[in-house]
């Protein structure tokens, strides 16, 4: 094998990679937060809404879960401008990621809500809690605690999927790699370093999620 590995151009442009990694982190967190809001609304709608609402939410979930993310982002970035909705690449990326994670998280959170025993809610009513309090403390918090592992591994998967937004010229980590690669031709070296950075990001995300779990959900289970 006569190939000479050359990592110098990669590290000469390391600043670009860090800037890209930051965008990846921002996009991931933005989509996680917005997607969770979408998911809570849709999960409640699916558990308790009228039939047409449930039907619409089901259609949304099935369409998103059974088509590739790449097609979803093409649709949002290339097809929506045709009906007058033109988004910049990074905004389109955030919208696409939010729409995507929203569908997956809805199913996860709905499973959590359905795991709450009816008696819990009745106990809340009996104790004189207000509707908002029941929703927040009796339903949502235990539900989120139950599905937290499934939800956070879906979030990490989302962060990895976000590399696909580089195809619509968003400025994330993968896009920074494409940029450096096209200027230096050190393709393998660039992508090797970037893959390592994604691996570090996913490790950092799981460490962060473990901390959040400890801070928010570390109280004894009911018997």
């Amino acid at each position: 094998m006569a190939y000479q590995f050359n990592f110098a151009p990669v590290f000469a442009n390391f600043g670009q990679l860090l800037a890209g990694a930051w965008i990846t982190v921002l996009l991931s967190f933005g989509a996680m937060l917005l997607g969770t809001v979408v998911a809570v609304v849709c999960a409640v709608g699916k558990s308790a809404g009228p039939a047409p609402v449930r039907w619409l939410i089901n259609a949304y979930i099935e369409i998103i879960r059974n088509t590739p993310f790449l097609i979803q982002i093409f649709f949002i970035f290339f097809a929506l401008p045709a009906i007058g909705l033109r988004l910049s690449p990074n905004v389109a990326a955030l919208v696409a990621l939010t729409v995507n994670i929203g569908a997956y998280a809805t199913e996860i959170i709905r499973a959590g809500i359905e795991s709450i025993h009816k008696g819990q809610v009745e106990a809340g009513v009996a104790l004189g809690l207000k509707r908002g309090q029941i929703f927040r403390y009796v339903i949502m918090k235990p539900a989120l605690r139950t599905v937290y592992p499934a939800l956070t591994s879906q979030f990490i998967y989302l962060m990895l999927t976000s590399s696909v937004v580089s195809v619509i010229s968003a400025t994330d980590l993968a896009a920074a790699g494409n940029n450096i690669q096209s200027k230096t031709f050190a393709a393998f070296e660039v992508y090797l370093v970037i893959t390592g950075m994604y691996l570090l990001l996913s490790l950092a995300f799981s460490a962060l999620f473990a901390l959040v779990r400890r801070a928010a959900f570390d109280y004894p289970m009911s018997r």
Partner: protein
């Protein structure tokens, strides 16, 4: 010159489904072999094997499929096999599927009660026969639903092969879109075709899961 979206464009996209299916089939077949080996290594008695399999799974589950495709694509080039999207996409997706199926099937093997293996031990049944005739057939029943579920993920994953120049459904859609500038129709059709491929599998996975949950609740 902008072409209109006509029957030719429609059939060009529909016919590209065969390449998506072919790539999915190759990756699934390769991933089944690799996944079985990975799962067996994960539950084996040899510590180095267990850790090697764990490292392999963590590596492929902790990095984006897109980067795996790029690395294999450019890596094969370094090893002198030239630019070959078919080969690169097959190899990358096979490795990807091996890691995911390995982790799924490890769980299924571990779900088989330990007494089964101990009974084999007591009866003097060796490793090969124990796996082939006792453990794996029982694990396979549990594995069907999540495996079908992963197949959906794999079919969707093949769309990324378009980025390294493999002409399948997504790439065909891009080619037609570049000629017709009709993204609504083109990507709508492409999305509908993926949906037709994946939705029945998703429903099947859900049914199998419920049936199994019912059977094991007794």
């Amino acid at each position: 010159m902008i072409r209109a979206f006509g029957p030719n464009e429609f059939w060009f996209i529909v016919m590209a489904v065969q390449w998506t299916l072919a790539l999915s089939a190759v990756a699934f077949a390769g991933g089944a072999v690799g996944g079985l080996l990975t799962a067996l290594a994960r539950v084996s008695g040899a510590k180095p094997l267990r850790y090697a399999a764990l490292g392999f799974i963590r590596l492929f589950q902790g990095t984006p499929l897109l980067m795996q495709l790029f690395l294999v694509f450019f890596g094969l080039n370094i090893f002198g096999s030239g630019i070959n999207p078919w080969l690169a996409a097959s190899v990358a997706l096979t490795l990807h599927a091996s890691a995911f199926l390995g982790e799924i099937w490890r769980g299924c093997i571990e779900a088989v009660p330990k007494g089964q293996s101990e009974a084999c031990w007591a009866l003097g049944i060796g490793y090969f026969d124990r796996m082939k005739s006792v453990v794996l057939p029982q694990a396979a029943r549990i594995a069907v639903a999540p495996t079908v579920g992963f197949l959906v993920q794999l079919i969707k994953g093949t769309s990324l092969a378009s980025i390294i120049g493999f002409v399948e459904l997504t790439r065909a859609g891009q080619i037609v879109n570049n000629a017709t500038f009709d993204p609504f129709t083109v990507f709508g059709l492409v999305a509908a075709l993926y949906f037709v491929l994946c939705w029945p599998l998703s429903i099947l996975a859900g049914q199998l899961e419920r049936r199994f949950a019912k059977a094991s609740a007794r």
